[in-house]
């Protein structure tokens, strides 16, 4: 699909054009919903977050610069809403994502590896997603945007408001952390680890 006219449509929305907004809604409703779904997998919550993303886009369209990419601007809104929701769920507990050792994110898995549980979860394709849920916010956001929403490095960089180089470092660290947690939780090797 060619979204070259996103900015043109956004310009019309800035003039109050509801039809232009609806065209953008039609284009981006699905990817934004998918993005929220990879965060929460709660249908009602994801519908609310998707709706709120677009309502905010409508409300704050005046702050959109026409030389920006509309999709990344929209993803930024969704990302902020998702992070707010995560923090609300965590009830204000804060985590310093730069200093936390991935070890700390393994909560109950060291008690013993349950092969049946691991098999069931893995078969459902759910195991890795559960691990993604446990990544710190910005690594999780990067992983979701890159692998599930298939954004480019440049787009992720714009959404995350970090440099291209830092985007790649975030992805690199996120993947390392992800597989550490995954192996810790689902690998038989952990059984013998002591």
């Amino acid at each position: 699909m060619n979204f070259d006219d996103d900015s043109e449509l956004a310009g019309k929305v800035q003039q109050g054009d509801r039809n232009a907004f609806e065209t953008l809604l039609t284009r981006y409703e699905r990817p934004i919903h998918a993005f929220t779904f990879h965060f929460f997998r709660d249908p009602a919550l994801c519908q609310d977050l998707t709706q709120e993303t677009f309502l905010r886009a409508w409300r704050f369209i005046g702050s959109f610069r026409l030389d920006e990419k509309f999709s990344t601007w929209l993803y930024s809104i969704a990302k902020n809403l998702c992070i707010d929701e995560i923090r609300r769920i965590q009830k204000g507990t804060t985590v310093d994502i730069e200093t936390v050792d991935p070890e700390l994110f393994a909560t109950d898995s060291d008690a013993g590896w349950d092969p049946l549980r691991a098999t069931v979860l893995a078969q459902e394709g759910d195991a890795l997603r559960r691990v993604v849920d446990r990544l710190p916010e910005k690594y999780r956001t990067c992983i979701i945007l890159f692998y599930f929403n298939e954004l480019t490095y440049e787009e992720i960089s714009a959404v995350m408001k970090v440099s291209l180089s830092n985007t790649k470092i975030l992805l690199f660290r996120g993947k390392k952390m992800l597989l550490d947690l995954y192996h810790r939780e689902f690998s038989p090797r952990d059984v013998t680890r002591g």
């Binding site: 109050g16 039609t26 409703e29 919903h33 249908p43 709706q51 890795l128 490095y153 992800l178």
Partner: protein, 264 residues
């Protein structure tokens, strides 16, 4: 397994993995990898992570078909007005529904302190329709799982302010059919803003289909918060209502939007 490489090579390796590295940097890194087991393990680790994530099966994550209409229905009239004007009558109606729900739940809890009052997301399949579609046919066969109902929403717009017109006021009443599939229920009622959250509610009658209950409400156009009362003591939101909102107590109120239009 934990793979920890040399910190000073992390950025280089990140760019190496993600395809942004100069030739001399790549050569230096590859030389380093041949002699550093930690960095080699880290590289293999991240490459494996990439493979594992890409192998994830796709998930069906289509938004429900009514979400588009719900968003457009909830769109304020203008994107550039003030907060109050932006939300306009919607904010007032939803604010009123919040207040109504708040008071109602307070009253109901006060009267039934020993019984659980609110149950969330355990409702049996239920469907409700505003009067824009005066009578929605009840399915011939009761579905095993609820089917999302296409959004029947509309927002009253461009209403004439009171006193702005010299013409006699015409009160529009729409007939709304409410129905609920609750095969194990002995009694079903609906309560909400329209009856000031009367704890007894408006009773639903058996609809002629096994497990299906229904009633008709006469409502003016607007937004109404509502819930079902199942077996006299459990408030249940309509899980298929396209609009839901928190009730302020961790529960959910369903929102019924009644279109403005020609009188029924």
């Amino acid at each position: 397994m934990h793979a920890n490489g040399c910190p000073k090579f992390e950025e280089l390796m990140a760019r190496y993995v993600h395809g942004e590295i100069l030739r001399h940097e790549r050569e230096a890194l590859e030389r380093h990898l041949t002699g550093c087991s930690g960095c080699t393990a880290l590289y293999n680790h991240v490459v494996e992570a990439d493979r594992v994530i890409r192998a994830l099966p796709a998930v069906d994550i289509e938004p429900p078909p009514w979400l588009h209409a719900r968003i457009m229905a909830n769109l304020p009239e203008s994107s550039r007005e003030t907060i109050f004007a932006r939300w306009g009558s919607w904010a007032w109606s939803l604010g009123a529904t919040c207040a109504g729900a708040f008071l109602a739940v307070l009253l109901m809890r006060g009267g039934q302190s020993a019984a659980p009052v609110r149950v969330v997301a355990v409702a049996p399949p239920a469907v409700s329709a505003p009067a824009a579609e005066p009578v929605r046919p009840v399915p011939d066969a009761v579905p095993a799982t609820p089917t999302p109902v296409p959004v029947p929403v509309a927002v009253a717009q461009n209403s004439v302010p009171p006193g702005a017109s010299a013409e006699p006021e015409v009160k529009i009443i729409r007939e709304v059919k409410i129905y609920l599939y609750a095969p194990s229920a002995q009694r079903v009622a609906v309560t909400g803003d329209f009856n000031s959250w009367d704890p007894k509610g408006v009773e639903l009658k058996p609809a002629g289909k096994p497990g299906m209950w229904e009633t008709d409400l006469q409502l003016s156009p607007g937004a109404y918060a509502y819930n079902f009362i199942v077996d006299s003591d459990v408030l249940v939101p309509d899980p298929d209502a396209p609009n839901q909102m928190p009730d302020g107590f961790g529960g959910t109120n369903s929102i019924l939007l009644v279109k403005e239009g020609a009188p029924a």
